[in-house]
């Protein structure tokens, strides 16, 4: 695997340049609907309960009760314990169930446990598995072992899609982020994902750009499409639209679909709905107008 190095200054500057576009009215509306369809509505708390998960599922299927024309969210992202609950609630709505697995969020467990974790989530009905890599192994230089682990977990996933969480906030440098992304893709990832949401900084435009470039280079080499999922820290509709601009200008229109680009978020959804309602009604909305996500 050839090693690509990243010029941090220029990567950040390029990422910042996507924030300068002015996207208004019609385009904004379409962009926001696309964002909505790309959201992995996430709850990953110790205090999650089955009813909290069911409520989130209902929100994913019908984001705004006042506007049935809106698309559903892409998926619900929960702990393995709640996969069955979510699956039952979502039925054939088309909203996927994504489960974090492999000892989320630290990944500091024996491989056998992490594989078992994955298999159980798949058996419970998860359509997508969000795995965490062993940052410890990666930073210790044992990248071959990280590769093997991802490959084995990919096998354990069967037909479920595998998203590989790099936890970029712990990888120290953009060079590491790029190397981890290339490694995950080579090992069989269907998606590369920035963060668990448990570590700051979570998703930034800079690291997401690195992942998009890694995916783009892989596409040029092999013709295969790999997805990207920034997660954590994207809370406003405005910022989400900037990510779409970055996707389009880095990897092109192919990626502007929930099949290949996702937002891991919870508070983002209601902000998107507020902006869409504002476009629809001409009024600025209150948070009280929307159910909790």
């Amino acid at each position: 695997m050839s090693k690509v190095t990243i010029d941090r200054v220029m990567a950040d500057r390029r990422a910042a340049s996507f924030s300068a576009r002015s996207i208004k009215t019609g385009s904004k509306g379409e962009g926001l609907k696309l964002v909505l369809s790309m959201v992995d509505l996430t709850t990953l708390e110790g205090q999650d309960t089955p009813e909290k998960v069911r409520s989130l599922c209902r929100k994913a299927m019908r984001p705004d009760s006042n506007d049935p024309s809106l698309p559903t969210a892409a998926a619900i992202c929960v702990y393995p314990e709640f996969v069955a609950v979510a699956k039952a609630e979502l039925g054939d709505s088309g909203v996927h169930v994504a489960s974090v697995a492999t000892g989320f969020p630290s990944g500091q467990y024996p491989l056998a446990v992490r594989l078992e974790d994955t298999k159980r989530a798949v058996e419970a009905g998860a359509d997508e598995i969000d795995m965490v890599i062993s940052r410890g192994l990666f930073l210790a230089g044992q990248r071959g072992r990280v590769f093997d682990e991802i490959a084995q977990i990919k096998e354990a996933c069967g037909s479920a899609h595998l998203k590989v969480i790099l936890e970029t906030g712990e990888l120290e440098t953009y060079d590491n982020v790029r190397a981890a992304s290339d490694l995950a893709i080579a090992a069989g990832a269907d998606f590369v994902k920035t963060s668990t949401g448990k570590v700051a900084p979570a998703a930034t435009m800079g690291v997401t750009l690195i992942l998009l470039e890694s995916v783009r280079d892989h596409f040029i080499k092999t013709g295969k499409h790999i997805g990207v999922k920034p997660a954590g820290g994207i809370r406003s509709a405005k910022v989400a639209v900037r990510y779409l601009v970055m996707v389009r200008e880095t990897v092109g229109d192919d990626w502007l679909t929930p099949e290949l680009f996702r937002f891991g978020a919870s508070t983002l959804l209601n902000d998107v709905l507020m902006q869409l309602a504002r476009l629809r009604t001409g009024q600025y909305m209150s948070r009280d107008d929307f159910s909790e996500a």
């Binding site: 001409g282 009024q283 600025y284 909305m285 009280d288």
Partner: protein, 316 residues
Amino acid sequence: MATRLNITKTHKLYIKGAFPRSESGRSIVVNDAKGAVVAHVCRASRKDLREAVVAARGAQCGWSRRPAYNRGQILYRMAEMLEGKRTEFTEVIEAMAVKSVSRTGKKKTGKKKASLARTGNGGVKALSPLREVDASIDRLVAFAGWADKFSQVLGCNNAVNGPYYNFTVAEATGVTAVVTPDEPALLAMVSLIAPVVCSGGTVVAFASEREPMTACMFGEVCATSDVPAGVINILTGQRDELVPQIASHRDIDAIHAANLPKAQGQALRDGAPDSVKRVRVREIAASEWLDSDVCESPWWIEPFVEMKTIWHPSAT
């Protein structure tokens, strides 16, 4: 000796504890009667309004949970800061006073005479610029005092048949939009803001369109008085443009205004039912702005609090 250039102040908006320009980049010119440019101020857009409301909403919970006594301290601190800027405020109001005189059709010459007769609003000779500033300071002190006392006046212990206490207590309504009349620009704005802030509400205040500079300067008073960012936000610009936006904004819980042109007052009332706002558009005679019985009453607080009734077991 080289002539020194005056360093004039750039008047900006006050949102979330900072002084941004309008996101729209627009400004309006403030002229005195002779057409001389007195200042440029920002012409806030609906997006500036939105940002201000977001700031006020963000600050609301923390502000209403502060001890009432502390809110009183902070209002008193605002009075202290305004006292320190007394001369500056007076001069700015004086600079504008010429204009009001021309509106009444009286020809006045000389600064002193003009300043004694700002009679745009029914001829109040008493309201000199200095008087207006002093009254504004006193008004802040009055509501600083009310902060930990109004709930004793508005709340009560209800008689119930059973071994319970039954209390009614006042809680802040939330985000209130203040719409200031043309004059007295400073005194009216302070009088409309203070009752809301003292009871734990947060404010987005729209300045007098004719004399907006004192409002911008009042932002400086807030910024140096330990008022948490977002509790008071101040916008300048064209009232006609933003009144419909204020009326329809669903995250504004209440509106406090006075002496507006009929159509604007009506627009505020018309927009309110859809988002269930409390609206109080007052008609205050010019002389009443100085009247503490009128403007420093706890009933100025009452429209911007919600009454909550609590049952509590009694010891017997």
